[in-house]
């Protein structure tokens, strides 16, 4: 099995993570997905540090799904570090958040987030949202080389 990760999911809420992975699985998009439970782990993975030392940074995911409210390092900080580094700045990042009340929407767009998605409460809508964004970024969207 190749260690190449296509989707990096940073989500501290186990239920949300399960639901997200479920929705992606239904569309056959979850085979190369890595789920990390906080921002620190996401950064370790992206910059091949800590647990992920030795991994090639050049193996970039096609999409990063980032929850905003996470322990240790939050989504905004992760986004900031991704955009600040030449090696990672072009990776598409989608913010997944529970709330449209987030005071951070503007901040995320200032940091050139690719998409900002409020997770619907309703299961069917949630699945629809995750499926369509997974399909879009994994299949429709053309990555920079």
């Amino acid at each position: 099995m190749t260690t190449e990760v296509e989707i990096l999911l940073a989500e501290d809420n186990a239920s949300d993570a399960e639901m997200t992975i479920d929705a992606l699985k239904k569309n056959g998009l979850a085979n190369k997905l890595l789920h990390v439970k906080d921002g620190a782990a996401a950064l370790d993975f992206l910059f091949a540090e800590g647990e992920y030392a030795g991994r090639s940074i050049e193996n970039k995911p096609k999409i990063i799904l980032l929850d905003l409210k996470m322990p240790k390092v939050n989504g905004i900080e992760v986004l900031q570090k991704i955009r600040a580094d030449e090696r990672t700045k072009n990776i598409p990042v989608v913010i997944l958040t529970s709330s449209k009340e987030d005071p951070d929407i503007k901040k995320c767009y200032d940091l050139k987030v690719n998409s900002y998605v409020v997770k619907p409460v309703e299961f069917d809508e949630f699945q629809k949202a995750i499926s369509s964004l997974g399909l879009y970024w994994m299949i429709v969207n053309q990555q920079p080389r």
């Binding site: 949300d16 409210k69 299961f123």
Partner: protein, 376 residues
């Protein structure tokens, strides 16, 4: 004898004559002395007369001098008499002026007394003002403290809203999601009652999600600064009516829209107001065979009164004061679903615009809602 006698007689006579002569000589000497005396006296008298003439001349001169002086004195006297009468007149005038001054003095004393009273009054007013100023300063510092508190509370509320929306929605999503998965994955193993119960779980989770969203809208609009622009009211309302009508399949709803006057208001907030009012009208006319919703406006001074009238369920005017309170409902959830946030939001938005909102209704005969906004 005769001769001797004669001689004796002659002697005698001679002697007599000698005596007489002597007498006469004595007399002559005396007369000479007397004459001399007289001459002296005469001289004296002439001297005296000359002196008298001089004195007389002097007196005449003095007399004329005195007459001249008398004439002068008469003139002077006349002058003095004139001056005297002038002085008397002046004295009269002075007396009058004096009386006037006395009167003015009295007036001034009166005024002074009044001024003293006024001054006392001013002092007490001043003290009152100082006291009031001190109170105001205290009140201002209290207000400042309150304002800081409010800002603090507002911040707390904001992070509370954020928390509520973020942290309450996540478990709801899980409840909803897991129940759906349970239904999908174990469909054949569960009997119809289990399916019904799970449907209820899903429906309630969904309802709670809606409640959270509405509450957040309510608190967000309360905190948001209004951006007032000229709002073309008719096109906004038309759009909302069309949208809501499309959602209601199989219902007959007649919208009667007047030419709605434009107003100066926050576009997003006013859209929310119309959305809530029109969807209420649509909701509460549900049991009528034909729903009629009339929307109109009229000018009232520098304000516009908007009016939306329906022929729906109406409400009991006794509870009209509860109509716009958060979570207050005049119908049960079984009759008409809702969470009691919509009209509270309308009230909050209109109040923030400086307008007024009120309603008139009769049970089963429909309700009319009014609100005012400033003219554009």
């Amino acid at each position: 004898m005769t001769l001797i006698k004669k001689t004796e007689e002659l002697n005698l006579a001679n002697k007599e004559l000698a005596l007489q002569n002597q007498e006469k000589e004595k007399r002559a000497a005396e007369l000479m002395i007397a004459n001399k005396e007289l001459a002296f006296q005469n001289e004296e008298k002439e001297k005296r007369a000359a002196e008298l003439i001089i004195a007389n001349k002097e007196l005449v001169f003095q007399n004329t001098e005195k007459e001249k002086r008398a004439a002068e004195l008469i003139l002077a006297n006349k002058e003095l008499a004139f001056q005297n009468s002038q002085k008397e007149k002046r004295a009269q005038e002075l007396i009058i002026a004096n009386q006037e001054l006395i009167f003015q003095n009295n007036e001034k004393e009166n005024r002074a007394a009044e001024l003293i009273i006024a001054k006392d009054e001013l002092i007490s007013q001043n003290q009152e003002k100082e006291r009031r100023a001190a109170e105001l300063i205290t009140a201002i510092s209290d207000l400042k403290a309150s304002k800081e508190q409010i800002i603090e509370i507002n911040k707390e509320l904001e992070s509370f809203s954020y928390s509520v929306s973020h942290d309450l929605r996540a478990p709801l999503r899980a409840i909803n999601g897991y129940t759906k998965k349970l239904k999908e994955n174990f469909e054949t193993q569960l009997d119809p009652e289990a399916h019904r119960l799970m449907n209820n779980i899903v429906a309630n989770a969904k309802k709670m999600g809606q409640l959270i969203d509405d509450l957040l809208t309510f608190s967000r609009i309360g905190r948001r600064d209004l951006v007032k622009v000229n709002i073309p009211m008719l096109s906004i309302v038309k759009e909302i009516c069309t949208e809501l009508e499309n959602e209601q399949s199989g219902r007959k709803i007649a919208f009667h829209l007047d030419t709605l006057l434009p107003a100066l208001a926050d576009n997003m907030a006013i859209k929310q107001v119309w959305l809530n009012l029109v969807s209420n009208a649509v909701k509460y006319t549900r049991l009528k065979e034909k729903a009629i919703i009339e929307i109109s406006s009229e000018e009232n001074g520098d304000q516009i009164i908007y009016c939306i009238k329906d022929n729906g369920a109406g409400f009991d005017m006794r509870y009209a004061d509860k109509l716009f309170g958060v979570f207050q409902r005049l119908h049960s959830d079984d009759e008409f679903e809702g969470n009691g946030v919509g009209l509270a939001l309308v009230h909050s938005i209109i109040s923030k615009h400086g307008g007024r909102v009120w309603a008139e209704a009769k049970v089963n005969e429909g309700a009319t809602f009014f609100f005012t906004l400033n003219k554009s």
